[in-house]
Protein backbone atom coordinates (compact mmCIF):
# COMPACT_ATOMS: atom_id res chain seq x y z
CA UNK A 1 0.00 0.00 0.00
CA UNK A 2 2.72 2.39 1.05
CA UNK A 3 4.69 1.57 -2.04
CA UNK A 4 1.71 2.29 -4.25
CA UNK A 5 1.11 5.64 -2.56
CA UNK A 6 4.81 6.41 -2.91
CA UNK A 7 4.92 5.58 -6.61
CA UNK A 8 1.69 7.44 -7.33
CA UNK A 9 2.81 10.56 -5.48
CA UNK A 10 6.27 10.49 -7.09
CA UNK A 11 4.74 10.17 -10.57
CA UNK A 12 2.19 12.92 -10.00
CA UNK A 13 4.82 15.21 -8.48
CA UNK A 14 6.98 14.81 -11.57
CA UNK A 15 4.07 15.10 -14.01
CA UNK A 16 2.98 18.27 -12.21
CA UNK A 17 6.26 20.03 -13.01
CA UNK A 18 5.31 20.86 -16.59
CA UNK A 19 1.82 22.34 -16.11
CA UNK A 20 2.76 24.19 -12.88
CA UNK A 21 5.94 25.47 -14.49
CA UNK A 22 3.95 26.69 -17.49
CA UNK A 23 1.45 28.56 -15.34
CA UNK A 24 4.22 30.24 -13.33
CA UNK A 25 6.23 30.98 -16.45
CA UNK A 26 3.27 32.87 -17.92
CA UNK A 27 3.32 35.21 -14.90
CA UNK A 28 5.13 38.49 -15.62
CA UNK A 29 6.34 38.98 -12.02
CA UNK A 30 7.78 35.45 -11.88
CA UNK A 31 9.61 36.01 -15.15
CA UNK A 32 11.05 39.28 -13.86
CA UNK A 33 12.38 37.56 -10.72
CA UNK A 34 13.99 34.80 -12.80
CA UNK A 35 15.94 37.37 -14.84
CA UNK A 36 17.80 38.43 -11.65
CA UNK A 37 20.33 35.64 -12.21
CA UNK A 38 21.66 37.29 -15.37
CA UNK A 39 23.25 40.45 -13.84
CA UNK A 40 24.73 38.24 -11.10
CA UNK A 41 26.31 35.91 -13.66
CA UNK A 42 27.45 38.88 -15.74
CA UNK A 43 29.15 40.51 -12.73
CA UNK A 44 30.77 37.32 -11.45
CA UNK A 45 31.76 35.58 -14.68
CA UNK A 46 31.76 38.42 -17.21
CA UNK A 47 34.22 38.40 -20.08
CA UNK A 48 37.59 37.48 -18.64
CA UNK A 49 40.38 35.23 -19.79
CA UNK A 50 40.65 33.61 -23.20
CA UNK A 51 38.58 30.89 -24.80
CA UNK A 52 40.61 27.74 -25.39
CA UNK A 53 42.31 27.64 -28.82
CA UNK A 54 42.62 24.26 -30.48
CA UNK A 55 44.88 22.57 -33.06
CA UNK A 56 44.19 22.02 -36.75
CA UNK A 57 43.45 18.34 -36.13
CA UNK A 58 40.53 19.25 -33.81
CA UNK A 59 38.66 21.17 -36.50
CA UNK A 60 35.22 19.99 -37.67
CA UNK A 61 35.69 19.98 -41.46
CA UNK A 62 31.91 20.05 -41.89
CA UNK A 63 30.95 22.79 -39.47
CA UNK A 64 27.35 22.57 -38.30
CA UNK A 65 25.29 25.57 -39.43
CA UNK A 66 23.94 27.44 -36.40
CA UNK A 67 20.75 29.47 -36.43
CA UNK A 68 19.22 30.11 -39.82
CA UNK A 69 20.67 28.96 -43.16
CA UNK A 70 21.28 31.24 -46.15
CA UNK A 71 19.01 34.31 -46.04
CA UNK A 72 16.37 34.44 -48.76
CA UNK A 73 16.20 38.25 -48.63
CA UNK A 74 16.40 39.60 -52.21
CA UNK A 75 19.07 42.17 -51.30
CA UNK A 76 21.24 39.40 -49.86
CA UNK A 77 20.65 37.12 -52.84
CA UNK A 78 21.84 39.91 -55.15
CA UNK A 79 25.07 40.17 -53.15
CA UNK A 80 25.59 36.39 -53.42
CA UNK A 81 24.98 36.59 -57.18
CA UNK A 82 27.72 39.17 -57.70
CA UNK A 83 30.17 37.44 -55.35
CA UNK A 84 29.85 40.21 -52.72
CA UNK A 85 31.73 42.64 -55.02
CA UNK A 86 29.16 45.36 -54.25
CA UNK A 87 29.14 44.56 -50.51
CA UNK A 88 30.16 47.26 -48.07
CA UNK A 89 30.34 46.95 -44.32
CA UNK A 90 28.90 50.18 -42.91
CA UNK A 91 30.46 51.30 -39.63
CA UNK A 92 28.76 54.34 -38.11
CA UNK A 93 27.17 55.80 -34.99
CA UNK A 94 29.34 57.13 -32.19
CA UNK A 95 32.55 57.08 -34.24
CA UNK A 96 34.84 59.85 -35.51
CA UNK A 97 35.30 58.24 -38.93
CA UNK A 98 32.14 56.59 -40.26
CA UNK A 99 33.19 54.11 -42.95
CA UNK A 100 31.93 51.82 -45.69
CA UNK A 101 34.45 49.03 -46.13
CA UNK A 102 34.46 46.70 -49.12
CA UNK A 103 35.57 43.09 -48.78
CA UNK A 104 38.95 43.86 -50.37
CA UNK A 105 39.57 46.59 -47.77
CA UNK A 106 38.69 44.21 -44.93
CA UNK A 107 40.99 41.57 -46.42
CA UNK A 108 43.87 44.07 -46.54
CA UNK A 109 43.62 44.78 -42.81
CA UNK A 110 45.80 42.61 -40.52
CA UNK A 111 44.23 39.13 -40.38
CA UNK A 112 44.27 36.85 -37.39
CA UNK A 113 43.29 33.20 -37.18
CA UNK A 114 41.86 31.30 -34.23
CA UNK A 115 40.62 27.74 -33.80
CA UNK A 116 37.87 27.93 -31.22
CA UNK A 117 34.82 26.01 -30.10
CA UNK A 118 31.35 27.29 -30.95
CA UNK A 119 29.11 26.62 -27.93
CA UNK A 120 25.50 26.64 -29.07
CA UNK A 121 22.80 27.58 -26.55
CA UNK A 122 20.99 24.40 -27.64
CA UNK A 123 23.80 22.39 -26.09
CA UNK A 124 25.93 21.22 -29.02
CA UNK A 125 29.48 22.35 -29.83
CA UNK A 126 31.69 22.38 -32.90
CA UNK A 127 35.26 23.51 -33.52
CA UNK A 128 36.12 25.80 -36.42
CA UNK A 129 39.13 27.65 -37.75
CA UNK A 130 38.18 31.28 -38.16
CA UNK A 131 40.19 34.03 -39.87
CA UNK A 132 39.43 37.71 -40.19
CA UNK A 133 39.80 41.15 -38.70
CA UNK A 134 40.05 41.79 -34.98
CA UNK A 135 36.94 43.74 -33.94
CA UNK A 136 39.09 45.86 -31.65
CA UNK A 137 41.32 46.87 -34.60
CA UNK A 138 38.24 47.94 -36.56
CA UNK A 139 36.99 50.04 -33.64
CA UNK A 140 40.42 51.70 -33.52
CA UNK A 141 40.29 52.39 -37.25
CA UNK A 142 36.94 54.21 -37.00
CA UNK A 143 37.88 55.88 -33.69
CA UNK A 144 34.95 55.31 -31.36
CA UNK A 145 33.85 58.34 -29.36
CA UNK A 146 33.91 58.52 -25.52
CA UNK A 147 30.10 58.23 -25.34
CA UNK A 148 30.21 54.83 -27.08
CA UNK A 149 28.97 52.01 -24.82
CA UNK A 150 27.72 49.28 -27.13
CA UNK A 151 28.51 47.91 -30.56
CA UNK A 152 25.40 46.77 -32.44
CA UNK A 153 25.63 44.33 -35.36
CA UNK A 154 22.84 44.70 -37.91
CA UNK A 155 22.45 41.61 -40.08
CA UNK A 156 21.14 41.16 -43.59
CA UNK A 157 18.60 38.42 -42.87
CA UNK A 158 15.05 38.58 -41.62
CA UNK A 159 13.17 35.76 -39.89
CA UNK A 160 10.37 35.52 -42.45
CA UNK A 161 8.19 37.93 -40.47
CA UNK A 162 10.26 40.99 -41.35
CA UNK A 163 12.28 41.09 -38.11
CA UNK A 164 15.92 41.73 -38.91
CA UNK A 165 18.52 39.82 -36.95
CA UNK A 166 20.83 41.93 -34.77
CA UNK A 167 23.18 41.48 -31.87
CA UNK A 168 25.19 43.67 -29.51
CA UNK A 169 28.29 43.63 -27.32
CA UNK A 170 29.46 46.19 -24.80
CA UNK A 171 32.79 47.90 -25.48
CA UNK A 172 34.64 45.62 -23.06
CA UNK A 173 33.34 42.50 -24.85
CA UNK A 174 33.99 44.06 -28.26
CA UNK A 175 37.59 44.84 -27.22
CA UNK A 176 38.20 41.20 -26.18
CA UNK A 177 41.26 39.94 -28.09
CA UNK A 178 39.30 36.99 -29.52
CA UNK A 179 36.30 39.01 -30.75
CA UNK A 180 36.71 38.55 -34.48
CA UNK A 181 34.99 39.70 -37.65
CA UNK A 182 35.46 36.43 -39.51
CA UNK A 183 35.87 36.38 -43.30
CA UNK A 184 37.03 32.76 -43.58
CA UNK A 185 36.08 29.40 -42.06
CA UNK A 186 38.35 26.34 -42.24
CA UNK A 187 40.76 27.97 -44.77
CA UNK A 188 37.98 28.84 -47.23
CA UNK A 189 36.04 32.02 -47.88
CA UNK A 190 32.97 32.11 -45.66
CA UNK A 191 29.97 30.55 -47.43
CA UNK A 192 26.41 31.94 -47.24
CA UNK A 193 25.17 29.29 -44.75
CA UNK A 194 27.93 30.20 -42.31
CA UNK A 195 27.42 33.97 -42.55
CA UNK A 196 29.16 35.26 -45.70
CA UNK A 197 30.72 37.65 -46.24
CA UNK A 198 31.31 38.83 -42.64
CA UNK A 199 30.23 37.25 -39.38
CA UNK A 200 31.10 37.82 -35.77
CA UNK A 201 32.91 35.26 -33.62
CA UNK A 202 32.73 35.70 -29.83
CA UNK A 203 34.05 32.43 -28.43
CA UNK A 204 33.65 33.54 -24.79
CA UNK A 205 29.86 33.57 -25.17
CA UNK A 206 27.15 31.29 -26.56
CA UNK A 207 26.80 30.99 -30.32
CA UNK A 208 23.82 33.28 -30.80
CA UNK A 209 26.06 36.26 -29.97
CA UNK A 210 28.18 35.40 -33.05
CA UNK A 211 25.91 37.14 -35.55
CA UNK A 212 26.08 36.13 -39.23
CA UNK A 213 25.68 38.21 -42.45
CA UNK A 214 26.69 41.51 -40.85
CA UNK A 215 25.80 44.51 -43.03
CA UNK A 216 26.26 47.35 -40.59
CA UNK A 217 28.07 47.95 -37.33
CA UNK A 218 26.56 50.76 -35.31
CA UNK A 219 28.32 52.13 -32.23
CA UNK A 220 25.75 53.43 -29.75
CA UNK A 221 25.26 54.71 -26.21
CA UNK A 222 22.18 52.53 -25.66
CA UNK A 223 20.40 49.77 -27.59
CA UNK A 224 17.02 50.44 -25.95
CA UNK A 225 15.64 51.96 -29.15
CA UNK A 226 16.72 49.09 -31.44
CA UNK A 227 14.40 46.15 -32.08
CA UNK A 228 12.44 45.36 -28.92
CA UNK A 229 15.22 46.99 -26.92
CA UNK A 230 16.84 43.93 -25.34
CA UNK A 231 20.06 44.06 -27.37
CA UNK A 232 19.52 41.32 -29.92
CA UNK A 233 17.10 39.21 -31.92
CA UNK A 234 17.19 36.28 -29.49
CA UNK A 235 17.39 38.59 -26.49
CA UNK A 236 14.10 40.15 -27.66
CA UNK A 237 12.73 36.60 -27.46
CA UNK A 238 13.75 35.91 -23.87
CA UNK A 239 17.37 34.81 -24.12
CA UNK A 240 20.04 36.43 -21.94
CA UNK A 241 21.95 39.43 -23.29
CA UNK A 242 24.94 38.21 -21.29
CA UNK A 243 25.54 34.79 -22.86
CA UNK A 244 28.71 33.70 -21.07
CA UNK A 245 26.71 31.10 -19.08
Amino acid sequence: MKRRIFLASAASALAGCGPIGSALNDNEAVRRILTLAEPLNHALVGTRGLAREYDDRDVDRVFRVNGFATPIDASYQRLVADGFRSYHLIVDGAVERPSALGLAQLQRMPQRTQITRHDCVEGWSAIGKWSGVSLSALLDAVQIRPDARYVVFHCMDNDGSGNLYYESLDIHQARHPQALLALRLNDATLDPDHGAPVRLRVPTQLGYKSAKWIGRIEVVGTFATIGAGMGGYWEDRGYEWYAGI
Binding site: I5, A10, C17, S22, L24, A37, R52, D60, T204, G244
Partner: protein, 263 residues
Protein backbone atom coordinates in the same frame (compact mmCIF):
# COMPACT_ATOMS: atom_id res chain seq x y z
CA UNK B 1 7.97 2.78 26.28
CA UNK B 2 4.64 4.03 25.15
CA UNK B 3 4.21 6.94 22.85
CA UNK B 4 4.00 9.65 25.54
CA UNK B 5 7.14 8.51 27.32
CA UNK B 6 9.43 8.90 24.34
CA UNK B 7 11.19 12.23 24.69
CA UNK B 8 10.79 14.89 22.00
CA UNK B 9 14.03 16.53 20.95
CA UNK B 10 14.79 19.64 18.90
CA UNK B 11 16.56 17.97 16.02
CA UNK B 12 16.66 20.42 13.06
CA UNK B 13 17.57 24.11 13.29
CA UNK B 14 15.76 26.74 11.29
CA UNK B 15 18.49 27.01 8.63
CA UNK B 16 18.46 23.24 8.10
CA UNK B 17 14.67 23.18 7.72
CA UNK B 18 14.46 26.24 5.46
CA UNK B 19 17.33 25.10 3.23
CA UNK B 20 15.85 21.59 3.10
CA UNK B 21 12.49 22.76 1.72
CA UNK B 22 14.01 25.36 -0.58
CA UNK B 23 16.22 22.59 -1.85
CA UNK B 24 13.19 20.41 -2.57
CA UNK B 25 11.67 23.22 -4.63
CA UNK B 26 14.98 23.99 -6.36
CA UNK B 27 15.60 20.32 -7.11
CA UNK B 28 12.25 19.86 -8.87
CA UNK B 29 12.74 23.07 -10.85
CA UNK B 30 16.32 22.17 -11.78
CA UNK B 31 15.37 18.70 -12.99
CA UNK B 32 12.37 19.96 -14.99
CA UNK B 33 14.17 22.93 -16.53
CA UNK B 34 17.28 20.81 -17.09
CA UNK B 35 15.22 18.33 -19.13
CA UNK B 36 13.82 21.31 -21.07
CA UNK B 37 17.41 22.37 -21.85
CA UNK B 38 18.36 18.78 -22.73
CA UNK B 39 15.46 18.63 -25.20
CA UNK B 40 17.09 21.38 -27.30
CA UNK B 41 19.92 18.98 -28.14
CA UNK B 42 18.91 15.48 -27.00
CA UNK B 43 22.33 13.82 -27.25
CA UNK B 44 25.12 13.18 -24.77
CA UNK B 45 28.62 12.67 -26.16
CA UNK B 46 31.74 11.51 -24.31
CA UNK B 47 33.75 14.20 -26.10
CA UNK B 48 34.74 17.87 -25.86
CA UNK B 49 32.74 18.88 -28.95
CA UNK B 50 29.65 17.18 -30.37
CA UNK B 51 30.74 13.85 -31.80
CA UNK B 52 28.31 11.18 -33.05
CA UNK B 53 31.11 8.58 -32.91
CA UNK B 54 31.24 8.95 -29.12
CA UNK B 55 27.52 9.23 -28.48
CA UNK B 56 26.41 7.71 -25.16
CA UNK B 57 22.74 8.71 -25.18
CA UNK B 58 20.46 9.88 -27.96
CA UNK B 59 16.72 10.38 -27.73
CA UNK B 60 14.94 10.93 -31.00
CA UNK B 61 12.04 10.30 -33.32
CA UNK B 62 13.05 8.53 -36.53
CA UNK B 63 9.54 9.10 -37.91
CA UNK B 64 6.26 10.59 -36.74
CA UNK B 65 4.61 8.45 -34.11
CA UNK B 66 7.77 6.68 -32.98
CA UNK B 67 10.15 7.61 -30.18
CA UNK B 68 13.50 5.93 -29.63
CA UNK B 69 16.20 6.02 -27.00
CA UNK B 70 19.71 4.90 -27.93
CA UNK B 71 22.14 4.04 -25.15
CA UNK B 72 25.69 3.04 -26.15
CA UNK B 73 24.44 2.18 -29.62
CA UNK B 74 21.52 0.02 -28.46
CA UNK B 75 18.20 1.43 -29.58
CA UNK B 76 14.99 0.95 -27.60
CA UNK B 77 11.49 1.98 -28.62
CA UNK B 78 10.20 4.46 -26.06
CA UNK B 79 7.17 5.82 -27.91
CA UNK B 80 4.79 7.70 -25.62
CA UNK B 81 7.43 8.68 -23.10
CA UNK B 82 10.81 9.44 -24.68
CA UNK B 83 11.26 10.80 -28.21
CA UNK B 84 7.59 10.97 -29.19
CA UNK B 85 5.17 12.14 -26.53
CA UNK B 86 2.48 14.54 -25.36
CA UNK B 87 3.33 18.16 -26.12
CA UNK B 88 1.22 19.71 -23.35
CA UNK B 89 -1.21 21.17 -25.85
CA UNK B 90 -3.35 18.11 -26.48
CA UNK B 91 -1.22 16.65 -29.26
CA UNK B 92 1.80 14.44 -29.62
CA UNK B 93 5.06 15.36 -31.30
CA UNK B 94 8.80 14.77 -31.35
CA UNK B 95 10.51 15.84 -28.14
CA UNK B 96 13.03 13.95 -26.02
CA UNK B 97 11.30 14.39 -22.65
CA UNK B 98 7.53 14.89 -22.47
CA UNK B 99 5.89 18.25 -21.75
CA UNK B 100 4.47 16.93 -18.45
CA UNK B 101 7.88 16.84 -16.78
CA UNK B 102 9.74 19.77 -18.38
CA UNK B 103 9.67 23.38 -17.14
CA UNK B 104 7.93 25.24 -18.57
CA UNK B 105 5.60 22.54 -19.87
CA UNK B 106 6.05 23.42 -23.53
CA UNK B 107 9.12 23.91 -25.70
CA UNK B 108 10.83 27.13 -24.58
CA UNK B 109 14.60 26.89 -24.21
CA UNK B 110 14.98 30.58 -23.23
CA UNK B 111 12.53 30.22 -20.33
CA UNK B 112 14.02 26.85 -19.29
CA UNK B 113 17.44 28.50 -19.04
CA UNK B 114 16.04 31.35 -16.94
CA UNK B 115 14.48 28.87 -14.49
CA UNK B 116 17.58 26.69 -14.41
CA UNK B 117 20.12 29.48 -13.87
CA UNK B 118 17.99 31.19 -11.18
CA UNK B 119 17.33 28.02 -9.20
CA UNK B 120 20.94 26.95 -9.65
CA UNK B 121 21.78 29.95 -7.48
CA UNK B 122 19.06 29.05 -4.95
CA UNK B 123 20.34 25.48 -4.66
CA UNK B 124 23.97 26.56 -4.34
CA UNK B 125 23.20 29.23 -1.72
CA UNK B 126 21.05 26.76 0.27
CA UNK B 127 23.90 24.28 0.24
CA UNK B 128 26.37 26.90 1.52
CA UNK B 129 23.94 28.16 4.20
CA UNK B 130 23.33 24.62 5.41
CA UNK B 131 27.05 23.77 5.58
CA UNK B 132 27.86 27.00 7.44
CA UNK B 133 24.98 26.58 9.91
CA UNK B 134 25.76 22.91 10.52
CA UNK B 135 29.48 23.57 10.95
CA UNK B 136 28.81 26.40 13.43
CA UNK B 137 26.67 24.08 15.53
CA UNK B 138 29.54 21.60 15.45
CA UNK B 139 27.34 18.85 13.99
CA UNK B 140 29.08 18.53 10.62
CA UNK B 141 31.26 15.78 12.12
CA UNK B 142 28.21 13.68 12.93
CA UNK B 143 27.27 13.64 9.21
CA UNK B 144 30.61 12.83 7.66
CA UNK B 145 31.71 9.29 6.97
CA UNK B 146 34.97 8.39 8.72
CA UNK B 147 37.40 5.55 8.01
CA UNK B 148 36.24 3.84 11.22
CA UNK B 149 32.71 3.67 9.76
CA UNK B 150 33.79 1.69 6.71
CA UNK B 151 33.84 -1.79 8.33
CA UNK B 152 30.32 -1.13 9.68
CA UNK B 153 28.75 -0.36 6.30
CA UNK B 154 27.97 -3.93 5.34
CA UNK B 155 26.76 -5.02 8.83
CA UNK B 156 24.37 -2.05 8.76
CA UNK B 157 23.12 -3.01 5.28
CA UNK B 158 22.79 -6.64 6.44
CA UNK B 159 20.66 -5.43 9.36
CA UNK B 160 18.38 -3.49 6.99
CA UNK B 161 18.07 -6.57 4.76
CA UNK B 162 17.20 -8.58 7.87
CA UNK B 163 20.30 -10.81 7.61
CA UNK B 164 21.25 -9.54 11.08
CA UNK B 165 19.08 -9.17 14.14
CA UNK B 166 20.89 -6.16 15.59
CA UNK B 167 22.58 -3.14 13.97
CA UNK B 168 26.34 -2.74 14.49
CA UNK B 169 27.25 -0.38 17.31
CA UNK B 170 27.99 3.16 16.21
CA UNK B 171 28.42 6.54 17.87
CA UNK B 172 26.32 9.61 17.21
CA UNK B 173 22.99 10.37 15.62
CA UNK B 174 23.48 8.83 12.20
CA UNK B 175 24.35 5.26 11.33
CA UNK B 176 27.24 4.43 8.96
CA UNK B 177 24.97 4.01 5.92
CA UNK B 178 23.27 7.35 6.54
CA UNK B 179 26.68 8.99 6.87
CA UNK B 180 27.82 7.36 3.63
CA UNK B 181 24.73 8.67 1.82
CA UNK B 182 24.98 12.22 3.24
CA UNK B 183 28.72 12.41 2.59
CA UNK B 184 28.40 11.13 -0.99
CA UNK B 185 25.41 13.27 -1.93
CA UNK B 186 26.20 16.42 0.03
CA UNK B 187 29.94 16.59 -0.40
CA UNK B 188 30.70 14.73 -3.63
CA UNK B 189 27.71 14.57 -5.99
CA UNK B 190 26.17 18.00 -5.27
CA UNK B 191 29.46 19.88 -5.80
CA UNK B 192 30.11 17.80 -8.93
CA UNK B 193 26.72 18.70 -10.36
CA UNK B 194 27.46 22.40 -9.78
CA UNK B 195 30.95 22.12 -11.30
CA UNK B 196 29.82 20.14 -14.36
CA UNK B 197 27.08 22.74 -14.89
CA UNK B 198 29.61 25.56 -14.76
CA UNK B 199 31.86 23.60 -17.14
CA UNK B 200 29.21 23.95 -19.88
CA UNK B 201 29.61 27.72 -20.00
CA UNK B 202 31.95 29.39 -22.49
CA UNK B 203 32.50 32.26 -20.02
CA UNK B 204 33.63 29.83 -17.31
CA UNK B 205 35.74 27.87 -19.78
CA UNK B 206 37.58 31.11 -20.64
CA UNK B 207 38.19 32.03 -16.97
CA UNK B 208 39.01 28.57 -15.65
CA UNK B 209 39.62 26.08 -18.43
CA UNK B 210 40.61 23.29 -15.98
CA UNK B 211 36.98 23.11 -14.79
CA UNK B 212 35.86 22.16 -18.30
CA UNK B 213 38.99 20.16 -19.13
CA UNK B 214 38.88 17.96 -16.02
CA UNK B 215 35.50 16.55 -17.08
CA UNK B 216 36.71 15.84 -20.62
CA UNK B 217 35.39 19.00 -22.29
CA UNK B 218 32.02 20.65 -22.79
CA UNK B 219 29.94 17.76 -24.16
CA UNK B 220 31.48 15.31 -21.69
CA UNK B 221 30.63 17.71 -18.84
CA UNK B 222 27.04 17.72 -20.13
CA UNK B 223 27.05 13.92 -19.83
CA UNK B 224 28.39 14.06 -16.23
CA UNK B 225 25.86 16.78 -15.36
CA UNK B 226 23.04 14.50 -16.58
CA UNK B 227 24.50 11.49 -14.74
CA UNK B 228 24.72 13.56 -11.55
CA UNK B 229 21.02 14.37 -11.89
CA UNK B 230 20.20 10.66 -12.18
CA UNK B 231 22.19 9.93 -9.00
CA UNK B 232 20.39 12.73 -7.14
CA UNK B 233 17.04 11.35 -8.36
CA UNK B 234 17.99 7.90 -7.08
CA UNK B 235 18.95 9.37 -3.69
CA UNK B 236 15.66 11.28 -3.66
CA UNK B 237 13.69 8.05 -4.29
CA UNK B 238 15.47 6.17 -1.46
CA UNK B 239 15.11 9.19 0.83
CA UNK B 240 11.34 9.44 0.26
CA UNK B 241 10.97 5.69 0.71
CA UNK B 242 12.73 5.89 4.09
CA UNK B 243 10.67 8.84 5.26
CA UNK B 244 7.47 6.97 4.36
CA UNK B 245 8.51 3.73 6.07
CA UNK B 246 10.04 5.20 9.26
CA UNK B 247 7.27 7.24 10.79
CA UNK B 248 6.19 9.66 8.12
CA UNK B 249 4.30 11.99 10.50
CA UNK B 250 7.18 12.24 12.95
CA UNK B 251 9.71 12.71 10.14
CA UNK B 252 7.67 15.37 8.35
CA UNK B 253 6.90 17.20 11.60
CA UNK B 254 10.56 17.28 12.58
CA UNK B 255 11.60 18.77 9.24
CA UNK B 256 8.83 21.40 9.54
CA UNK B 257 8.90 22.31 13.26
CA UNK B 258 12.29 20.92 14.20
CA UNK B 259 10.85 18.63 16.95
CA UNK B 260 11.42 14.90 16.64
CA UNK B 261 10.04 12.15 18.86
CA UNK B 262 12.85 9.70 19.62
CA UNK B 263 12.39 5.95 19.53
Amino acid sequence: MNHAERPVIYRYGVVTRLSHWLWVLAFFVLVGSGLQIFNASPNLDASDKSNPARRVLAIGSPQDGIGTTTIFGHTFTTTGFLGWNGNGMGGHDAHAFPAAIIIPGYQDLAAGRRWHLFFGWIAALCWIAWIVATARKGSLRALLLRPSDLPKLWPMQAYYLKFRKTPPSYDGVYNPLQKAAYTTIGFVIAPLVVLTGLALSPGIDAIANPITAIFGGRQFARLWHFAGMLILLAFFAVHIFQVLTQGVVNQMRSMITGWYRTE
